[in-house]
């Protein structure tokens, strides 16, 4: 108990202290940040072996590895920020919010009381808002959008908590066991799931992630949308679907649909992005789909896969973002059209990036492969249980995987291979920045190769009872699927290359070894996809933000608000008419029974 309170309050108090450090003072916040995050990390490790239940807090096998992940990422990000944030404004504030975020996420994961969870959850949104805002004056729109989605879903979560309380008669999460069978219970689950989706960035509440990725400081994106929020969000999704609610089929289907759509749609969007970080942002969304899909299968192995994917995703996605940050730090741009050929100058970044990219694409032997494999198992399992649509989910997952691979090949090509505009030399980033990347890439490998002995054995399987890898499924089929996915990805990549070359009469630069490398940029690269008839319309709509729930809602609202504003015409007599109409209605209602 004490450990929990210390770990939460230490970073929060330190964070608040940072807020009051005078602006001019340098170094204090950084030092405080490193020390506190390190201590917190150690404390989270210390928590690992424990079990604890009280009215307020809970450490169980589901929460403890997530907490450890939080501690680790927190520390790594602080380290990375030391260099990355150097020389920016509002550093003290930055570290303050960073530390508060660490504390609040630990709190959110460890709370056993729904209201306490709400508080930490809300604070996370607030700090995210402030952190994104630090990205500079043009990040203010993004910060606003982000917080509207996050904060809005937090309010929906309140509703969910309320309904859960009424159904489960308690706020204490470990004491809640609601079976989803009535409208109210569905409402409760959906409301809570919405909060998880928004945090984790599943569709349709994803749209803040790409924006954030583009506008916010990379360390912030790597830290919050890409890792902590995913951890916390999926953790919560896992908790509600596994522990607090007994899902019925409809809810499972809902999760599956959302997962599938998220995977495919997000990766399709990723394909057409110009911006390095924005592209990564869409991938961050896409990967959430796998996790949701995994949890939606409702089979132990699927859920375990989803949770494992969550962990893996945090690792490689964090690594990818940090890599993009490193690139940006050196080249001062994240526009794919202007990048290229960095592999020579930034080898460490390149290698770690490639590892993470392979990992995200589910290529063995990296960790992404294992978790995806497990999720596929879950889907197959679903089919066994008689879900006719299992093939659909499978195809979606596979297709997503393929596109991811294709997209990352393009990305690596455009950034590290290929050729850069201008093309002057750049240096590798400093060790403080690349150490976290190396650590993460290393973890990608370890979690992939030693998947069963380290992460699954220690972290995941205790959390998800009843997973067995034998007898239920056909590993061969699954492996086949994954390989199929990889091949498909390569084919897509090649196809678009050919098309690209055929359609675009690019200037051929004589003497170069590789014609493919001739200023092939992200945009041109997949133009063919974008130009195709069916997808074209969708992409155009997407460009107009027709799929962004935020913008759609804004448009619908503005319509109604326009009407309301028109009604408030400034005419006194109108106002009096309302008053009189109001009193008439009141009279009718009041007198109805009595006359």
């Amino acid at each position: 108990m004490n450990l929990i309170i210390y770990s939460i309050s230490l970073s929060i108090i330190a964070g608040i202290m940072c807020l009051f450090i005078p602006k001019r003072t340098r170094g204090v916040a950084e030092t405080l940040g490193v020390i506190v995050s390190l201590v917190t990390f150690i404390m989270t490790i210390m928590m690992f072996g424990r079990e604890f239940v009280s009215k307020w807090f809970l450490i169980d096998n589901l929460s403890r590895f997530v907490v450890m992940g939080i501690g680790m990422f927190g520390f790594l990000i602080v380290l990375y920020s030391l260099k990355y944030m150097q020389g920016r404004d509002r550093i003290n504030e930055y570290y303050a919010y960073l530390l508060i975020t660490i504390g609040a996420s630990i709190g959110a994961v460890l709370s056993n009381h729904l209201i306490l969870l709400l508080v930490f959850w809300g604070v996370l949104g607030l700090t995210l808002y402030m952190l994104v805002g630090i990205g500079g004056s043009d990040a203010s729109s993004t910060a606003k959008k982000t917080f509207i989605i996050i904060g809005g879903s937090d309010v929906i979560m309140i509703l969910g908590v309320a309904v859960t309380w009424v159904l489960g008669k308690t706020f204490i999460m470990s004491g809640i066991e609601v079976s989803v069978n009535s409208g109210m219970s569905m409402l409760a689950f959906i409301c809570l799931a919405v909060a998880a989706f928004a945090k984790a960035g599943a569709m349709p509440l994803h749209s803040w992630i790409p924006d954030c990725a583009e506008k916010a400081p990379v360390s912030v994106t790597a830290f919050l949308p890409a890792s902590l929020d995913k951890l916390v969000g999926i953790y919560f999704l896992g908790r509600i679907s596994m522990k607090m609610f007994v899902l019925n089929k409809a809810m499972g289907q809902m999760l599956l649909i959302i997962g599938a759509i998220t995977i495919v749609a997000a990766v399709m969007m990723a394909l057409i992005q110009h911006d390095f970080k924005r592209l990564l942002g869409y991938h961050a969304v896409s990967q959430v789909g796998y996790m949701v899909l995994g949890i939606g299968t409702c089979s132990p192995i699927g859920i375990a896969g989803g949770l494992f994917h969550m962990l893996n995703n945090t690792i490689y996605k964090c690594c990818l973002f940090l890599g993009s940050g490193a690139v940006e730090k050196r080249t001062k741009t994240s526009d794919l059209d202007k990048l290229g050929g960095l592999a020579r100058f930034m080898p460490v970044t390149f290698v770690t990036f490639v590892i993470a990219a392979l990992s995200i694409s589910g290529v063995p032997p990296f960790n992404g492969f294992v978790s995806k494999w497990m999720i596929y198992q879950g889907i197959v399992d679903l089919g066994r249980k008689g879900d006719k649509l299992w093939l659909v989910w499978m195809v979606a997952a596979m297709f997503g995987s393929a596109l991811t691979l294709a997209s990352f090949m393009k990305l690596i090509h455009a950034v590290f291979l290929g050729q850069r505009e201008g093309g002057e030399k750049v240096k590798e980033v400093s060790s403080l920045m690349w150490i976290p990347m190396v650590v993460l890439a290393g973890l990608c490998m370890i979690f992939g190769v030693l998947a069963f002995t380290v992460p699954l054995e220690k972290f995941i399987l205790p959390a998800v009872p009843g997973v067995s890898f034998t007898g239920l499924f056909s590993p061969s089929l699954v492996t086949l699927m994954i390989i199929l996915g990889v091949i498909l990805g390569l084919i897509i990549y090649m196809l678009s290359n050919f098309k690209n070359i055929r359609e675009d009469s690019l200037p051929y630069i004589g003497g170069e070894e590789l014609p493919v490398e001739t200023r092939v940029t992200g945009v041109d690269f997949y133009r063919s996809i974008k130009d195709s008839k069916i997808l074209g319309g969708i992409y155009r709509a997407a460009d107009k933000k027709s799929f962004d729930i935020y913008d759609v809602a804004k448009r619908v609202l503005n319509y109604f608000i326009g009407m309301l504003k028109y009604l408030h015409s400034g005419l006194l007599s109108n106002y009096v008419i309302w008053v009189v109409a109001g009193i008439l209605v009141l009279l009718i209602v009041l007198m109805k029974g009595s006359i």
């Binding site: 504003k565 408030h568 015409s569 400034g570 005419l571 006194l572 007599s573 009096v576 008419i577 009189v580």
Partner: protein, 115 residues
């Protein structure tokens, strides 16, 4: 009967406030509403009867309390009348100022505040 008349007066006043565009007509409507309510309150006291609530000589306090109805409504009528008086003065003052500022009596042209 008399209450219905009050109600009709009240409605006429309300109608004035509702449909008229001229600020002064709106004020007149309000005045009529005040009148109607005052008339109503006066008649209310008439119907109520009972012991005169304002103390008159020859009663003792205890007796008075025993017999009297609540003394407030009479004060209420008086207060309502004078409030009406004050409010009318205020409204006319604002009307004059508005006329100076906007150069019109038409309330529909005084619409800087809307939406």
């Amino acid at each position: 009967m008399i209450y219905i008349l009050c109600l009709i007066f009240f409605m006429v006043g309300l109608y004035g406030v509702l449909v008229k565009k001229n600020i002064i007509k709106i004020v007149l409507g309000l005045i009529i509403m005040e009148y109607a309510v005052n008339l109503f309150l006066i008649m209310l006291g008439y119907r109520e009867g009972g012991v005169a609530p304002i103390i008159s000589e020859g009663d003792s306090i205890t007796e008075f309390i025993k017999h009297s109805v609540d003394p407030l409504p009479q004060a209420l009528v008086l207060t309502s009348i004078v409030i009406g008086l004050g409010v009318i003065a205020l409204m006319v003052a604002i009307c004059i100022r508005l006329y100076e500022k906007y150069g019109t009596f038409d309330i529909t042209e005084m619409r800087r505040l809307k939406g």
